[in-house]
């Protein structure tokens, strides 16, 4: 993708989020998003299938980062340590922009269809982590349990992180949640 095209995608994502926050997801049209980004609807549809997918454009990259970090963890790492490495990678990717993460989540929470799409994204992340663990030689049910537990930590920590206005450190919030999970299950 050319540099200008990548920039178009970023501008469209930013314009969409601004409009979803200020007017609401349902009330915003693709034409309005494109206009706000100084682009055409035709360009919008070269990047995104529909106005819902703008909010999930980062999902594939997030999943790839998580799986890469999991697979790259030291051979001696336990399943949960490998999952912890994946969570660190997620925090590094998502922890940069507290304000945008808060806004995106508020839009998603406001719409049942978006909430469903988010659930599917999380289920897909969990499946990908379990696959990665099995490639590391982890047997079932441990692979699925460790992967799902990792996604639980991810979701609970992420929710806490965006609920706090001053934006604490996401990586630390995730490690704290992992420690609490160990404490409650232990």
């Amino acid at each position: 993708m050319a540099r200008w095209e990548a920039d178009a995608s970023g501008r469209l994502r930013e314009a969409a989020l601004e409009l979803y926050v200020s007017r609401g997801f349902e009330q915003t049209t693709v034409a309005e998003i494109a206009a706000r980004a100084g682009l055409t609807a035709r360009t919008f549809f070269r990047h995104f299938a529909d106005k819902r997918e703008v909010l999930f454009a980062g999902s594939a990259e997030l999943q790839a980062r998580l799986v890469d970090a999991l697979v790259a963890a030291p051979e001696a790492a336990s399943p949960m340590q490998a999952v912890g490495a994946a969570l660190d990678a997620a925090a590094a990717l998502l922890g940069q922009n507290h304000q945008r993460s808060r806004q995106r989540q508020s839009v998603i929470n406001s719409n049942p269809e978006l909430r469903e799409r988010e659930l599917i994204k999380m289920a897909s992340l969990s499946t990908a982590l379990a696959d990665g663990l099995r490639r590391r030689g982890v047997a079932e049910p441990d692979a699925s349990l460790a992967a799902e537990a990792g996604i639980v930590v991810f979701r609970v920590a992420f929710e806490r992180w965006i609920s706090e206005p001053d934006g604490p450190d996401l990586a630390r919030t995730m490690r704290d949640a992992l420690d609490r999970l160990k404490a409650v299950t232990g």
Copy 2:
């Protein structure tokens, strides 16, 4: 609900599952389900909003049983022990009919819309368990983490249970999965 009406609901659920398995969910109409049950489409719609909801008619009861068991657990029980009591209640309810559970899951797995609906059901169960734990005085994030961990155990154990043709004991499968979760997170 009169006795005959309750029976109508059960007959419709059974007829629907038989048709979904033999012909496929998409290919089955409400009229066909009603005819197989010896009832009318009008009766069908007195019991279920659509042909999808027939598969989820037990969700409310499942959730109520889980929450009741969680709330009724001894005061001294840890959050995870209370969740364990809820899982025992789920196993007692679902563990009776291995063949029907297998069939229902195969229908759900065959259809993306049904898989989404199942994810929403699981998210709702988790929210209800977390609410119950907070009512027991469990603080956040422990309440959410223990509830989510319980649903992870539920899902992984249930999947294992239906994947085995001879139908082992669901309660034991759940307790084994809970032990494995403790081991992998510990």
